[in-house]
Structures are given as C-alpha cells and as structure tokens.
Amino acid sequence: MDKIIFQRLKIEAPLFWKLFLGLGFFILVGYLCAHYMETEGHYVTGMNNQIVWGMPHVFAVLLIVIASGVLNVASMSSVFNFKLFKPLAPLSALMAVAFLISGLVVLVLDLGRPDRLIVAMTTYNFKSIFAWNIFLYSGFAAILVVYLWFMLDRTVSNYSKPVGVFAFLWRIILTTGTGSIFGFLIARDAYGTAILAPLFIIMSLLYGTVIYFLLLKVINYFQDTLMTDEVKDNLRKITIFFLFANLYFLALYHITNLYISKHYDYEVFILTAGGIYTIIFWIGQVLIGLLLPLYLLLNKNSNNESNFMISSLLVVFGSFAAIYVIIISGQAFPLNIFNDYIIVESSFYDNVIHDYTPSLYEIGLGIGGVALSLIIILIAIRNLDFLPSVIQIRKPLVDEKSD
C-alpha cells in the first residue's frame, strides 16, 4: 500500500544557499531601488502626474492576482473534493501566502509615504474599495495561515475542509475587490465597468494555475513530489478551460465597451490606434498570452510536457502584458473632460496620449517582489513539511517522521 507523507525540500546546503543568496540579491536590489525612490521622490521613476501608477503597480497587482490564483489547487481539493490534488494543497496555500505578501510589500514600498503605513493600517475610509482591499488582503493572509496549519497538523486536519471553503470564498471576493479597484474608477474610460471584476477573477485562475505548474516543475527537478502524469494532465485541462474563459471575458469586456458610448473612444484607441499599447494588447496579451498557448495545448501532441511548459511561460508573459495594458494604457489615454470640445493646448498633458518609460528602479522593485515570493517559498519548503511524496509501506505502521 502507498502512503503519502510530507517532506522538506532535501537539497544540499550549498545549493540552498546559492539559491538563497541569488534571490536575496534581487530582494536587496529591489529594496535599494525602493529606498532610492522614496528618498529622492518619485521623479526619478517613469511615473508622473499623468501616469500615476506604473511598473510597481503592475507587479503588485500581478502578484496579488497570482496569489489568489495559485490557491486553485487547494480549493479544488477542499471545495470540490478533488482527491488528486489533496497532497498538493498545502504547497498551493503556501504559494498564495508568499505571492500575497510580496505583492503587498511592493505596493507599500511604492507609496509616496511608506513610513505612514501605520496610518493606512489604523485609519480606514470604508467608502474606499482600497481600504476594503487592505482588509481583504490581510484577512486572506490570516486565513491562509490557519488553513495551512489545519492541513499540516494531523490533529486538526478534520477542520481543514471548512477553512478551505472559507478561503475559497474569500479569494473570490478578494479578486473581485482587486478588479474593483479599477472597476470603480468612473472617471477613466478604460475602467469604470463591472466586468473588470469577473475578468480579474478569471485572470487569476489562469495565471495561478500556470504559475503553480511551473513552480511545481522546478521543485520536482530537485525532488520528486507527486507530480504524476495525472496531475499534469488535469492542470493542463483546467488551463485550457481558463484560457477559453479568459478569451471570452476579454472579448466581453471589449465588446461591451464598444457599446458604451462613453468608453467607445478608448476602445478604438486600444484596439487600433494606441501605438505601443495596441501592440502590447494584441501581441502580448492576446496572441502570446492566450492564443498561442491555446494552440499549443490543443494541438495533436498536446500531451507533450514541454508543450505545456512553453504555454505556461507564454501565459506568464501574457499575464504581464495584460496587467500592463489595463493599468498603464488606461491612464495613458487622456481624460475626457469636455464632451463637445477638444483640448488643443494644455500645460498638463491633457491633450496627449502619454507614454510611459518605466525606470530601472521600478522594475528593480518589482523583480525584488517576485524574488521575495520565491524566497518565502524556498525557505518554507526547506524548513517545513510541504512536499508530498509517496512511500511504499511494507509494514502498515511506520514512523512518519523517519526522515
């Protein structure tokens, strides 16, 4: 009879430290970038009074969206009783915590006054979706920690299912909240539509799944976790499903926008005339991020694992493009202040499509955030029993902590 036990990542110390220092280096660089931006002020970045949210927000939103998405595997096991994923659930919750924390860190480090974080944590304006998100994020982190504990501690593991269901509901609300950050911005033609919330949910499901697959693949390279063909096949199938769903919601978003006269100009801009933004949209988000992976996954030798790998990497690239298009081009498109006048002159760039060149500092901060999430995962799986593996049990009773 086979039995599943959970183990630590057993890599040699030098390799661990190499990975640790490598990631640590990027975190340090990220921190220095943030520190420089804070002491000098944001003028050293590519952000300005026109593009107020830049690369750090792209990274932060992406990380938060992924955080919610990687919980898929755990949700499927606990909410939908999908036994196959049960052993992989703790790892999924761990990744969610890691991505969430790093997303928030990036977000906070980009504030104009990160030193006032305490203000943000103590004074709330409950009308603000942003304030609600602070609750949703910290609540999510707390729930995940409890969930992890319940999953890993045998004595309380009976309760892990209700907590899992709760975490599932919470993450849906959380992604809705993240989408609503933009959905509630009635002022801007690109945003201000309720479809952004489901679009964000479906994006999170897709990105989370492929990120989970990729990370599991990396871990598997060092140590055999339970990444059976069956697991891969299922991940592949749901990826295909999410790709279709994503295409559908994306189309829905843009088509409804075309019918809302307020948003029409922006739609024409992003679909045809937006220069770099149009290119990123069509090539990055749609072609590389959705169509190409679909093609690869649906084609004849789709069972081929490297095919799945490549598609996953393409989806990750596409995810970046997607968030970039939503955040940056939404701001680059000028505000429509007057409906029967066009602005011909302004000292404040009211009449131009603004371009945005991210500075290295912003990118450094973002990459630091990614490195932070990876280092959290690395440290956790090396020190705690997260990785499932199968052992053949000869005698029915065996000490599980024999490693």
């Binding site: 002020g41 003028y43 107020v52 943000a120 304006n125 509630f184 002022a187 006048y341 000292s347």
Partner: protein, 244 residues
C-alpha cells in the same frame, strides 16, 4: 491671585500673538461676516466658484501665477512631475471650431470621487465644501489621482525646501487646489486666482459663498447660465463654467 495670574497669562499670549508679524495673510480683506478664527467651519457657508469663459482672456495666466505665488508652488522645471493646482486649457468647439480658453482646477465636487476612493480618508470634503487633502494622513497611494475626472491633483514627486509658512507641502503626498483655505479661514472671501483675475480686469473668475445672496459668485451665476463639467457623473461640482 489665581485669577490675576490667568489674566496675565492671557495678556501675554495675546500680546505674543499680536507681536508676531502677521506672516500668514499680510493683506487680509476684512469682511463683516468672516468666521472667527476659533470657530469650526460649517455647512452654513458654501464656497463656490464660477468661471465665465467668455471673459477669460487668451494667453493670460494671471490666475495660475497667483496660485503659484500664494501656495509656493515653485517647480523643478520638470513639467511632467511638477504640481499644478490650476492650469489653463485651450479648447476648440467641435462644431463651430471656436477657440476658447479656461482655467481648470479642482472642481470641489459635492460627491467627490477622490474622497470616495481614499483608503485613509485623507482626501476629504470640509464642511464648507472645500475638497482637500489632509497631508498628515495621506499615504501617497495616488488612487485619488486615478479617480479624479478632471486631473486636478498633483503628487509631490521630490523633496521641497522653500515652502511658505502659510502653505506647507512636501514629498510623497497628493495636493490640489483648496480654494485658498488658509486665506479664507483668515477672513478673506477671495481666492488668489480670483484676485489676480480681478486685478487684470477680466473678472472671469468669481468666488464666494453660495448661501450669501450678495456674493460675487451668486451674482455671476444669476447673470448668466452656467454648467458643470462631466455632468453625466453627477458629481455636483462647486466650480461651474459659463459660456461653454
């Protein structure tokens, strides 16, 4: 004895305040109905502004310059990141091709989107209708700038040094027109931009208290139809425009 002490202290305080040079508003326009300094602002006063676009003169930037001087908004010569609380726009009528100019500033909405989205409540609407940023609780997230339909807000992108005593401002916070709150609270009923516009003789900008029937803004509203920008958003701005 005790009482005596108290009055002496009071006297000292009073003379001390007298003694201090009146640096905040050197040229107070004394008004009969001005609010005492120690009284809270109330919704009995409704500050508002009307801008008569027909009177706004081409190429004139007196209001912008007055604002810069009033609030110490000197820039770093980096137009993309320097603050602008009020700016001039040149517009072309889509149908008639007529060219007009107007000043654009915070519209002081009664339903301000910036305040709705602010996570800490630093963006707020004062009882008398002035929408402003409490820079002591602003964390610099810039969500309000995303939410503003008029691009009225600026983020302070770098370290500042020569701030005015009457207008503190600094790196990492969002700022915008506050209807010269400091001036108004000290008894003036005229913003710096209106004053400049009057001095130029254009009188395009009229400011005042909506609940005072004789206020300049009420007179100009009565004399000419006016409208709010982006009325589809139902923000009920306190800044209105006539002539467009």
């Amino acid at each position: 004895m005790n009482k005596n002490n108290l009055t002496r202290r009071d006297f000292l305080i009073k003379s001390a305040s007298l003694m201090t040079v009146v640096y905040i508003i050197p040229d107070l326009v004394s008004k009969t109905e001005a609010k005492p300094l120690d009284e809270k602002v109330s919704s009995k006063t409704k500050w508002a502004m009307n801008i008569d676009v027909d009177k706004c003169t081409k190429g004139c930037t007196a209001c912008v310059e007055a604002c810069i001087e009033e609030n110490g908004l000197y820039g770093m010569d980096r137009p993309e990141t320097d603050s602008q609380w009020i700016r001039k726009l040149t517009l072309k009528d889509i149908k008639t091709e007529k060219i007009v100019e107007l000043p654009m500033l915070c519209q002081h909405c009664e339903n301000p989107p910036c305040c709705d989205v602010c996570p800490t409540g630093a963006s707020f609407r004062r009882e008398d209708g002035i929408v402003m940023v409490n820079q002591h609780t602003c964390i610099g997230c810039r969500y309000c700038m995303m939410a503003c339909p008029f691009k009225a807000r600026s983020f302070v992108h770098e370290n500042l040094t020569e701030q005015l005593t009457s207008a503190p401002r600094g790196k990492g916070c969002v700022e915008s027109c506050n209807f010269c709150a400091n001036r108004i609270d000290h008894g003036s009923d005229m913003t710096a931009c209106e004053e400049a516009c009057q001095k130029e003789g254009h009188k395009a900008i009229t400011f005042g208290d909506l609940s005072n029937p004789k206020s300049r803004v009420n007179e100009s509203l009565a004399s000419k139809p006016s409208r709010r920008l982006r009325s589809d958003l139902k923000l009920k701005q306190r800044v209105t425009y006539s002539g467009i």
